[in-house]
Each structure stands twice: as structure tokens, then as C-alpha cells.
């Protein structure tokens, strides 16, 4: 699905003015403070046919992620690792501005940035997902469908992927006579950390967390920072034509760490483990 050119949401000038005035007074049009994220709700195991799934609501942004586990050949150069593939699609049901068609650059960026956070944090210990080194490994697909768009798809999709992966049950495959057998048993996934993505946007000289669609339509720049359970930064992505000063970047990184830990606690509550 592509967010087409005509999709650029034009915010009414009188709204824009109110937004700027309100933000410089420290409050947003939806009554949030600048550092406040929207309510996060997660429902797990919504897709029984998947090995794990999560339906995430971040404000009015809704994303479903489903985990499918198969076996296959490892990626080239990663012979001793399971394969992890993360995709995202912004469905045409999700917004009046989306036309059916192959994914455009924004949607591809979405999938890649979410993938980067999960992969670089080594959330899944892929070395434990090898059946025959160099030949047969677990292939884990996490596919995301965005159901309703109201800003910050990056964080919402990331939370969906992380919750679906952390709560999934991996089938136990065994090798017998060079053939893969599904034993019918399941196992916990080898989770090492919970990566949390926190997106900050810049409107004028102000920095806001978790933008909604209207705020995104007014933003000059965006910075997504993913931290792991230790509080280290594992992935970043700056977006849009605006810029950040050095101090802004450092401040944003600190905030992403603090906010990230808050959200990590929430995610753990929803997932229901101490992982």
C-alpha cells in the first residue's frame, strides 16, 4: 500500500496556529503534555492461526502483527542463525489517503526501521534457532498490518512486533533422516531483551513524543530511537527534511531511554513475563 501524493494531510491554518500556541505553552491540542505518549493497549493471541500475534492500539493507531514460524535455508553469510523477516503493510482500510498497490518508500522505511530495532537489539537469540548449521534453520516471519492510521506508525508497529514475538510459541522442529519433523510440541522463544522504539518529532522548536496524525502533518523532523532493556541505544532513524541540533539529539536520546523504560514495563505487563 502506498501513501500517495494526494495523501498529504493539510491541517487547517487556524488549527495549526492553535497547535503552535498550545505547544509553546507546553500543552498539545489533545490535552497531552509534550512528553506524554498516548494510551497503549495490547491484545495478544488474536490470530489463532499464527504462532503469536498482537493487536496494538496506540491512541487511535491500530496495528496487528502475526508471527509465522517455518523452516528454511539460512541467509547467506548468516549460516548459523535462524532467519527473521519483518514486513509491514499499511492496509487501504486504514486511512482515506491510502491507495492499494505495492508499498511506497514510507511503508518500506516503516518495515525496515521496525526490523532494525528488533534485529540490532538481538531480541531473539537467532543462534538458538538452527536445525542443521548452514542448511536448515527456523524462519520467523513477523508480518504487520496497519488497520487504522493516526500517527506514529513506527512505534505502534514496533510494539506490535515485540509483543507478538515475545508472546509467541515456537513449534519444536526436529531433524530425522535429513527431514524436518514438526513434533507438535511448542517452546518459548529465546528472548534476550525487549527493544522499545520511541519517536520524537520536532514542530517549530518544540519536541513532542508519540505524534498523532495531525501533529505529523505539521512536523519538520522526526527521530526514532530504539533502546534495549539495558538502556543502550540499538537503532536510530532520522526522518524528514528538518534538522535537529546536537543538544536536541542528546536530549531526545535521554528521553527515549527514560520513556523507553516506562513503555518496556507496560509491554512486560501486557506480555506477562519478566523477560
Amino acid at each position: 500500500m502506498s501513501l500517495s501524493k494526494k495523501s498529504t494531510i493539510i491541517v487547517e491554518n487556524l488549527r495549526k496556529k492553535q497547535m503552535r500556541e498550545s505547544i509553546s505553552a507546553g500543552k498539545r491540542l489533545d490535552e497531552r503534555s509534550l512528553d506524554e505518549t498516548r494510551s497503549l493497549e495490547i491484545e495478544l493471541d488474536v490470530i489463532k492461526k499464527a504462532n503469536g500475534s498482537a493487536w496494538v492500539k496506540l491512541g487511535n493507531t491500530e496495528v496487528v502483527a502475526g508471527v509465522k514460524v517455518e523452516t528454511g535455508e539460512p541467509f547467506e553469510g548468516l549460516e548459523n542463525s535462524g532467519a527473521l523477516i519483518i514486513t509491514a503493510e499499511v492496509l487501504p482500510i486504514a486511512s482515506p489517503h491510502i491507495e492499494p498497490g505495492p508499498p511506497d518508500e514510507e511503508t518500506i522505511e516503516l518495515a525496515r526501521v521496525v526490523d532494525r530495532g528488533v534485529r540490532e537489539s538481538e531480541m531473539l537469540d537467532l543462534s538458538k534457532l538452527v536445525l542443521i548449521p548452514g542448511k536448515i534453520v527456523y524462519t520467523i516471519f513477523v508480518d504487520c498490518s496497519v488497520l487504522n492510521v493516526d500517527g506514529n506508525l513506527l512505534d505502534a508497529t514496533s510494539y506490535a512486533v515485540v509483543s507478538a514475538l515475545a508472546s509467541c510459541k515456537l513449534p519444536v522442529f526436529e531433524i530425522k533422516d535429513d527431514k524436518v519433523i514438526d513434533t507438535g510440541k511448542t517452546q518459548e522463544p529465546p528472548i534476550t531483551t525487549i527493544p522499545v522504539s520511541v519517536t520524537t518529532v520536532k514542530i517549530g522548536d518544540n519536541l513532542l513524543l508519540d505524534p498523532n496524525a495531525e501533529e505529523e502533518a505539521c512536523m519538520d523532523a522526526r527521530l526514532t530511537i530504539t533502546t534495549n532493556s539495558k538502556g543502550s541505544i540499538v537503532a536510530m532513524q532520522k526522518g524528514l527534511k528538518g534538522y535537529f541540533t546536537l543538544d536536541e539529539v542528546k536530549g531526545t536520546a535521554d528521553k527515549a531511554r527514560i520513556k523507553g523504560e516506562e513503555i518496556r514495563l507496560k509491554l512486560r505487563e501486557w506480555i506477562g513475563t519478566g523477560k
Partner: protein, 244 residues
């Protein structure tokens, strides 16, 4: 189709415990997608499907517009995690055909002349697939169209009937679809009494065909009652009647 094992036991129960004229559990929730003009989530057995309607709205590209009527576009799509083995996100030939027959099943109910030069988009996303996803998709789409306030001559309700173990049963499930002898999805306008979708896989004698069609329509009427109560619930809540 050749059936290799019996799918109905001695006490008349089918593979999922239903009797021959029993629907799976059906639930419809109206207005699930905030951004859409109309929407519905249907759970039909293990099917979990969202239908969303946008429109009538401007046609892009403009040359697709028709001067005397509204254009209706339909996309039936399955999420990669919706099936037992992962499905590629790219649309398959099957999805393209189903999109077409669903559009043609809905079109007779829509008063498209009321919206010249505009377009109505119907998007059906299968989050979890079970047998009968096209029927469930049509049923949800019809509710979403009514929710969007598009002028309609009637609702469209859909249900399949088929042949399993030499018996005609309604609402074919996944196993019966794959292993049974015949599967016949039907969409029906319940008040106008008109059939808008009819497909058949498998062999039916003339008598069996007649029974099968009658049973499918009985199924459609049951589905219609659920569509109706879901819309009444959303728009009128607990207020069952009007105060005079």
C-alpha cells in the same frame, strides 16, 4: 470432488460438532475502523475479517470516473498470517477473482446512479481465514456499506451450502470445503429475494442442487438477522422502539 472419509457421524454431528442446518458462531461489530466511512468486523467461525468502506469519494485517476454512476472498487486481501502456511502479501490470482465476484455480488444492491462521477471503495481484509471467507467478507462488506450510509436497495447476506457425506449441509467449514463433495457459496438480497453471487465446486444432481440452493438461502436469511441486529445495536443501542 471425491470424499475419502466420513465427515458426519452417526448422531448427525459434523466435524465441528454442528448439525446439518446450523451456522457456525457469527459475531459482527459495526464501526471498528475509525478512519473509514463505514466498517465492520465479522467473526464467522474462525474467520476474522474486517470490511471498510470509503466513499462515495473523488475518483483517482479522474478518467476512471463515469458520468452517470458511481464506480465501485473492491479489494479482498488476506494478511500473511491469516492462513495455516504463511501467505505472501502480494495479491494472488485467487484474491483477484474473489475481489471481482464480491464486487459483483454487492453491486446489485447499491444505487450507484445516486453518486455520478464518484467512487466507492470496499476493502476486505482477512485477518484469519477459515472456510467461507468470501461469504463472510460479503456479509461484512454489506454491513459496512450500510454503516457508510450509501443508498442501497437491500442488504446482501451470504452463506454457502454444500454436500458432505451425501447430505446437504449449510455453512461449509474449512474441512468440509477441502474434503466434502460440493461447496456452493451464495449471496442473496433477503428482502428483494435475488441471488447476487453463485459459485459451485463439485457435483450435485438436479435434486441435490435445488435443495442445496434452498438451504444456502436459509443460511443467508440467518446471516441477515445477525447483520440486522448488529446495525440496530450500533445505531439505536438499547432503544428498541420509538416513543410515540
Amino acid at each position: 470432488m471425491v470424499q475419502s472419509r466420513s465427515l458426519i457421524n452417526e448422531s448427525g454431528k459434523r466435524s465441528d460438532g454442528r448439525i446439518i442446518d446450523e451456522l457456525r458462531e457469527v459475531r459482527i461489530k459495526v464501526g471498528i475502523i475509525r478512519n473509514a466511512d463505514g466498517s465492520a468486523l465479522i467473526e464467522f467461525g474462525k474467520n476474522k475479517i474486517i470490511a471498510a468502506v470509503y466513499g462515495p469519494r473523488e475518483v483517482h485517476p479522474k478518467h476512471m470516473a463515469q458520468s452517470d454512476r458511481c464506480v465501485i472498487r473492491c479489494r479482498y486481501h488476506m494478511s500473511p498470517f491469516s492462513t495455516d502456511t504463511r501467505k505472501s502479501p502480494a495479491p494472488s490470482r485467487r484474491e483477484t477473482e474473489i475481489s471481482k465476484v464480491i464486487r459483483e455480488a454487492l453491486e446489485p444492491a447499491l444505487i450507484l446512479e445516486d453518486y455520478p462521477r464518484a467512487a466507492i471503495d470496499v476493502f476486505i481484509e482477512v485477518l484469519q481465514a477459515d472456510g467461507g471467507s468470501r461469504c463472510a467478507g460479503i456479509t461484512a462488506a454489506s454491513v459496512a456499506l450500510a454503516d457508510a450510509g450509501i443508498n442501497m436497495r437491500d442488504m446482501v447476506s451470504a452463506c454457502a451450502a454444500g454436500k458432505v457425506d451425501d447430505k446437504i449441509v449449510i455453512d461449509i467449514n474449512d474441512t468440509e470445503d477441502k474434503e466434502g463433495k460440493a461447496d456452493m457459496p451464495v449471496a442473496y438480497m433477503p428482502n428483494l429475494k435475488k441471488i447476487t453471487l453463485l459459485q459451485l465446486d463439485g457435483e450435485l444432481s438436479p435434486t441435490e442442487f435445488n435443495t442445496c440452493l434452498d438451504e444456502a438461502i436459509r443460511g443467508c436469511l440467518k446471516v441477515y438477522e445477525i447483520q440486522r441486529s448488529s446495525l440496530m445495536e450500533k445505531y439505536f443501542g438499547n432503544e428498541k422502539g420509538l416513543k410515540e
